[in-house]
């Protein structure tokens, strides 16, 4: 039978509710990596620090009578056993390499892949705008960012509340989750926009990945090198460090580096604004010069 005789049926809407386009983009993007076993394994590995911290909290506060808890704290370092806000902030700083790994896997191809085969033309021939498109992609990155930062903090906060027999109720169940939510939301949004802007710059994911890793790790190494020569203010070029410098304000913690947290906050604002500008310029169904 010729193909054209197979018949075309017009669509009769079922009456089900359609979800906004950004949700469709986010849902597909989140579900994709979860189908890979290697990715799921990596996700479990990313929770190991949280499990370790949970174990230390348990032994320190619940099973402390079995041995000297102070010795354990001295052994592992104060932050691992801390149930104060700075202890949870330290946990977030330990997760920065997992953040790098997951954001690299999930984020670098998000826009470059669409641009590779003129996919943007398909998106924008639909009833969706730039904000829907970017919001959908940002949610994908933020979801995985939260998976390795915010969600472990929530779990640890609940666990900490349980092992301290409710003595830390307000701090564990309200203040720490609130601080972590605020920090992770702002940092995640900024990281997502910066990573997406990089992803929008080219068609080849490999170059974007290299660029992203250089920005994340390379800037840290450059800053380490410069500070060796006494240029402590050069820590300002350390990209991931700016998040923790600024985040220290939220957690009432000591800033990890001797530069102004407000300076870091301003630097991040500039980076994020620049990223938004790049996204506005690069994400178009058609290249228009003017």
């Amino acid at each position: 039978m010729p193909v054209y005789e197979r018949g075309y049926k017009h669509w009769e809407p079922s009456g089900r509710k359609a979800l906004p386009p950004w949700w469709a983009i986010a849902r597909r993007g989140i579900a994709g990596p979860l189908k890979r076993r290697g990715f799921l394994f990596l996700l479990m590995v990313a929770w190991v620090p949280a499990i370790v911290k949970g174990g230390i909290l348990y032994f320190t506060f619940k099973a402390g009578q079995l041995f000297d808890a102070g010795q354990l704290v001295r052994l592992v370092g104060g932050n691992w056993a801390s149930i104060e806000a700075p202890g949870f902030f330290a946990f977030l700083t330990w997760q920065k390499y997992f953040v790098l790994i997951f954001l690299t896997i999930v984020g670098t191809r998000l826009i470059s892949k669409d641009r590779q085969e003129n996919g943007l033309a398909l998106y924008f021939a639909r009833p969706l705008g730039l904000v829907d498109y970017v919001a959908g992609k940002v949610i994908i990155i933020m979801f995985y960012y939260f998976m390795v930062t915010l969600f472990p903090v929530y779990a640890l906060a609940v666990f900490g509340y349980l092992v301290t027999a409710g003595a830390t109720g307000m701090e564990m169940l309200v203040l720490i989750p609130l601080r972590a939510t605020l920090f992770c939301s702002l940092a995640g949004l900024s990281l997502s926009l910066i990573l997406l802007s990089l992803s929008s710059l080219g068609h080849r994911a490999v170059f974007i990945t290299v660029g992203w890793v250089l920005i994340y790790l390379g800037s840290e190494q450059i800053a380490n090198l410069m500070t060796l020569f006494g240029n402590r203010w050069m820590r300002i070029v350390d990209f991931p460090a700016q998040y923790f410098q600024a985040g220290a304000l939220l957690f009432d913690a000591n800033p990890p580096h001797p530069i102004s947290p407000w300076g870091s906050f301003f630097v991040l604002l500039v980076y994020t604004a620049l990223a938004c500008l790049i996204l506005k310029q690069r994400i178009r169904p058609v290249e228009v010069v003017s």
């Binding site: 010729p2 193909v3 054209y4 197979r6 018949g7 075309y8 049926k9 017009h10 669509w11 009769e12 809407p13 079922s14 089900r16 509710k17 359609a18 979800l19 386009p21 469709a24 983009i25 597909r28 994709g32 892949k113 669409d114 590779q116 085969e117 003129n118 996919g119 033309a121 398909l122 998106y123 924008f124 021939a125 639909r126 009833p127 969706l128 705008g129 178009r284 169904p285 058609v286 228009v288 010069v289 003017s290």
Partner: protein, 313 residues
Amino acid sequence: MTGTASKVNQTSDGLRVQGLDFAYAQAIVLQDITFTLRQGSVGLLGPNGSGKTTLLRALLGHLPLPREKVNVLGWDMAVNPRAARQRIGWMPERGGIIPGMSGVAMVAYLGELSGMPERDAMQRAHEVMDYVALGEARYRKCEDYSQGMRQRLKLAQALVHDPAWIFLDEPTSGLDPKGRVAILKLIHDLASNKGFGVILSTHLLPDVEAVCQEILVLREGQLLSHDVIDNQATTARQVFEVEGFGEEELFQARLREQGVEITKDGRLTLITVGSGEGAEMILAAAEATGYALRRLRRQRLSLADVFYKLVEE
């Protein structure tokens, strides 16, 4: 429901472009384009760089447009392009796939982005994949599709949300003859039997002749012609094959005086007359010069003849 036009399609308005100008930086791409399309299949013709794709992008609302220049299905594309896009299907010339997805997943995903509920979109995706004869390849990654399959996949994604109009940019580009015929049959079926409005942008004239009822001819950003194809082929100019005996030179001289073109093709004399003139002129010249006509037949001009004449003028 198969083979009938939907209510949506039957009640749809057309497309109206009024005095549209557009330039990329300093390069003028479209100049004072004006036309109205009701429904049916329209061929958008023009040499490379004539502004066909830019015009389609203007119709999709992809370009920054002034108000009231482009109206699609009742919506001003400068004000509310998203509403109009819910009823437009677009098949781009280059690329037009989302790597990493299976064919049916890509079509369903784009259906959801067009405002369809998730389950409806998946169901429709399967239906349109069957319609474009990709049923057996639906679960293959779309980047692994052949060129012909990609073109059909692009057609499927343009149809998934059941639009009123579909805009096709070079749909037969890069296809082998069999694939080209298959996709032209699908397009013809959509335009003729399923109530779709179709704009077919191409520089392949036989494709337009096979599918379209009307043509828009662009050259250097200007609209040269908007007409029904049959009118184009019959009214623009006419060529008559003439054979006879007698004072042929006198007969030809008489016709040349009236400004017609005369060429020889073997024994035949080909007489090209302008629009509005016809066989009467030739008969009168023959009678006046005593030339006995043995054959007088009008040649049917192909669209290619008409097109080349328009763009060369």
